[in-house]
Subunit: 437 residues, 3 copies
């Protein structure tokens, strides 16, 4: 559990908040590149860290992210004309480029020279691997992008997806670094014999109460969760939290699985998670597994501040729960892995009060991640300490996944090579994961 | 009128408020038994005294009322699996019985022994006469249920109904103990000749400005309202307020009429009233009287916190008011007695500001009830005094209704026998009420 | 820009606020007469200066404006019976006339004499030229109505319209006194050659950066905005702000154009503007100009507090913006002049934070009007000074519009006669305006 004070500290991300300041040290995923499919196309409303921003792609293909309100008299730039390398406010014709410079001010007499004194709020953007990254921080020269392997694959080999959740970002992230929920929320009805002996899945549901080992790393925090595996071995699941809001889950095969997710705060009560992955890992996570494909559950994007990447199952329809199925063939009655996670994390309320919780040994990773976040937030606020990874993009070159290790092995030493990103492992067999499709 | 301070004191019912504490001394109607029709069925979201609770019926048929949030990490137990005498959170499989004990914690290694240290919020429940009563108070051993006759009739002889209102509980209750509104809001267009001489209804509309006598009782407060009746008699209407939020109305024949209503706070701005009655009294109140039957106006229950027992006429559709009918044949143009009461009490606003009102002699009962409630709230808060009736279930053994008394009679003495519950009066004639059907 | 404190001062209008007190010194348009088409008809919910009021027309045709809550126990008088020169609360039958007197109290015994002690909140109303004016101020004897010419035309020669906006009143008003936006928001795609040489419109779009001259007047503030016109002349646009919330726009021909608009606060986040005009001026502003007529865009009135005179294009449907049209033939892609203004002023947010704006030379009028309003608010609050125009109805006898003047002329002196109301100018030619139809 957390004190109310620490809970506030971790969950509030608006301008000027301690956690908001921490987040603003880093590049964050803001949009999918595909949301801005063409130069001079329709702008997009983007809520990010409690700020209302307008994303647009200019005539040269560059992405800009401007403050919603025109600096003149506050009209929304969303209604703007996206033309000739700038977004032009339709109220009085003021025009801004992706850097926020006012490049035209046609309602003022030329001699007023006022346009050189006005600048729009504009945040640096970079596109890579289908993601538009944004830097909302204080540095004139932003730090480097993190070396996240799934976001650095050659074109044609990556896939991305975004999904909105109507809850605080930390609830989403904590659900992701909590290995024991998999065998309940998602596989609660699976019996060991439903998965072949020798596959991860078999052991996952054979022992649903794993032991944990958690360590701090240069990128954040890593856990190994283990339970008995085949013939004197343990089945180990390794997963990562990477500052400030990225995760790598332990579902696939360590050494082969290339993916990451980012749990990006839109504001205090809404978040967007971004999935970036190799095509293979992406298909495993979003395909028809667990009955229903992710694509079938997404609504078309709307234009509102909270209108992007919404799931059709939502709190208003109880996530399409089918109580009949829940009683018989299914654990939750809720269609799809992602929907199940969404239902549970949103059901905790917009901002969960962690002073009321009771954490067990299975929550070791959750506890450690909070501690690291709190420490980084406090050191930034009190001493101005640059938090982990900001200036060290190479620490993000890691992977996650599962593996069998001889009982009693030193898991950190034994998985050293498998955890390295950008390495090929032709000797490994992907089918051992046994993830159901 | 009330001071703003007293108004706050009477209307706020959340945990830790003075009135919330008073309410928590008593058993309160929380649900209809019919909302949980079968063992291991679908749980129900119940808002009560500002608390979000999950009602469920376990495998043995016992009703439980648990806090919404699982004590582990806060997932809503509404999504839980209701199985084998407990509600199991689908997030990590923790399971709780109706007492709130954690009876299974399958994601923790057995040696952790953590399950014995965790308890869910759970409130005692008792079922009687179609009502699920709940005790949200501080005693380990709850007090006895109140001896409310309409809730203690043999099966087959009682009927119950619940209806939600979107306003503070006290507005609902005060509308109920206000006898003079009947001849306007509900019978404003009725002429004396529309009801046969000799019936209550005839005298009710012949003199619409009754005189009041109000007395404190061991169960709360009682009034007698009188106006001229036939041949040297007065028509007396007797009604009760019973701590903390029950009423008995004066509509039928004193001695025959068996009914009570409870005005239960869901939170500060929503309430649920529960009607419990003999089949005969129930039919009189909810049948096709005043043009339209109650059942025709109820929506099917939804699953939301405010989704139970809602009327189709509501503030959003102006309660289906028909201005043409209002101008000609009808007083309000609003269909149904219950809808008329709902429209008026909700139109006062979510929490009515009583510092702006002007009370007349017809409001004597309203004034006295507030005074008694305020006194009880203050004595509990300041001296810990147990409020009226908590430990005296027998004081609730009373009835209400109308009767003719010789002019000048001592109404309290003269009605002594008729006011006793659990007594048969074959000598009385029910048709004298003259209530229109 | 304004300080946050001054921004609050100008925008908050509820009872007891400084700007609310200023507004309450004046008569304000509250309704259209046509909203109450018949004696004893259906009452109307009116939100005005943050107060919930019930408008009704009594049996004699007089208009009343009562507080929403019956002074007895707070039931909404909207449900009342409008009969025999009074509005009767349906709860207990209390009846109030247009002055707020309780003229019947039938649930009280006659001897109580209580009805003479009760008064409903009631505001003085006057009807003129299709507008119901209301006085919410402190004087027993209200001041005279302002001599607004468009509101004093003979029947058959005036026209009126109201439209709600979902933003603070000052955003609406400031958009109206800002001449330079016309050539962008409304005529951004118009080329000089699209309008014949010699018409106002030709010069309006030929030079989109006018110079400004702003002066204080006895009715408020006036500006002249000028740009080059034909042969050694300038095209001058004159417009007025009149205390406390009226405007006269410069679109037509000065001397011929008869119109005014009032930007009336409903509450802090909603306003109603009232257009009053000669039939000719009205047709120019609301006809099929700019592709679509105003009447085609209005929803039928609903009954809610914010349900009157709503446009079908609204924030929820992005004002029906057509991005394809915006890219090609149109400046905004939004249908209709009024919709364009509404979209922009609402997009600034419910109450725009003026501490973030950057005002140029084209905002001279906006700046001056704020200064005058702030000065009047402060002098009323601190010294009790009656603000401009309250007791001088004749100062409102002015007109606005455009005219050609020789370069270098003294615009104020040169337009003296043309600015007078109630004067005929047969020598002037209306077609010079060149407004597109």
């Amino acid at each position: 559990m957390l004190s109310l004070e620490d809970n506030e500290l971790l969950t509030r991300v608006g301008p000027g908040t301690p956690m908001g300041n921490l987040m603003r040290q880093y590049w964050l995923p803001a949009m999918l590149s595909s949301e801005l499919p063409e130069p001079d196309g329709t702008p997009v409303r983007v809520m990010l860290l409690g700020e209302r921003l307008i994303g647009f792609r200019d005539s040269k293909g560059q992405v800009g992210l401007l403050g919603n309100h025109c600096p003149h008299r506050g009209a929304s730039l969303w209604f703007g004309r996206n033309e000739e390398c700038g977004l032009r406010c339709v109220y009085h014709g003021w025009k801004f480029d992706v850097q926020g410079n006012c490049v035209d001010m046609p309602n003022e007499p030329p001699e007023s020279n006022f346009k050189h004194k006005v600048k729009a709020t504009a945040y640096a953007c970079r596109e890579r691997g289908g993601i538009v990254w944004a830097y909302l921080g204080p540095r004139k020269q932003p730090p480097p992008l993190p070396d996240l392997e799934p976001n650095m694959l050659p074109d044609g080999e990556w896939a991305v997806q975004a999904i909105q959740r109507d809850c605080n970002w930390l609830q989403g992230l904590e659900g992701e670094i909590d290995t024991s929920h998999l065998a309940f929320l998602h596989y609660g009805k699976l019996a060991p014999d439903d998965a072949p002996e020798g596959t991860f899945l078999h052991y996952l549901v054979k022992d649903r109460a794993p032991r944990y080992s958690v360590v701090d790393t240069d990128f954040g925090t890593m856990y190994g969760a283990y339970r008995p595996g085949p013939e004197g071995q343990d089945y180990w699941r390794l997963a990562n939290f990477l500052f400030p809001c990225h995760t790598m889950i332990p579902t696939g095969v360590l050494g082969l699985q290339i993916l990451a997710r980012s749990w990006v705060p839109m504001d205090d009560e809404h978040m967007m998670f971004f999935l970036m992955a190799s095509r293979q890992a992406f298909a495993g996570l979003t395909g028809g597994g667990n009955r229903v494909g992710l694509q079938d559950l997404l609504e078309p994007n709307g234009t509102g501040w909270y209108g992007r990447f919404r799931m059709r199952p939502n709190a208003g329809n109880d996530y399409l729960i089918d109580r009949g199925k829940q009683r018989t063939e299914d654990w939750t009655g809720i269609p799809g892995i992602h929907t199940q996670d969404q239902a549970i994390t949103e059901s905790m309320g917009p901002i969960y009060d962690r002073s009321r919780e009771h954490l067990g040994s299975s929550d070791a990773m959750v506890i450690r991640v909070r501690r690291r976040l709190l420490q980084a937030v406090r050191e930034l606020a009190e001493k101005g300490t640059t938090p982990p990874g900001v200036d060290n993009p190479e620490v993000y070159r890691v992977r996650s996944g599962g593996t069998f290790l001889p009982r009693g092995a030193d898991w950190i030493e034994a998985t050293k090579e498998l955890r390295k990103a950008f390495v090929s492992h032709p000797e490994l067999d992907a089918t051992v994961a046994g993830v159901r499709s």
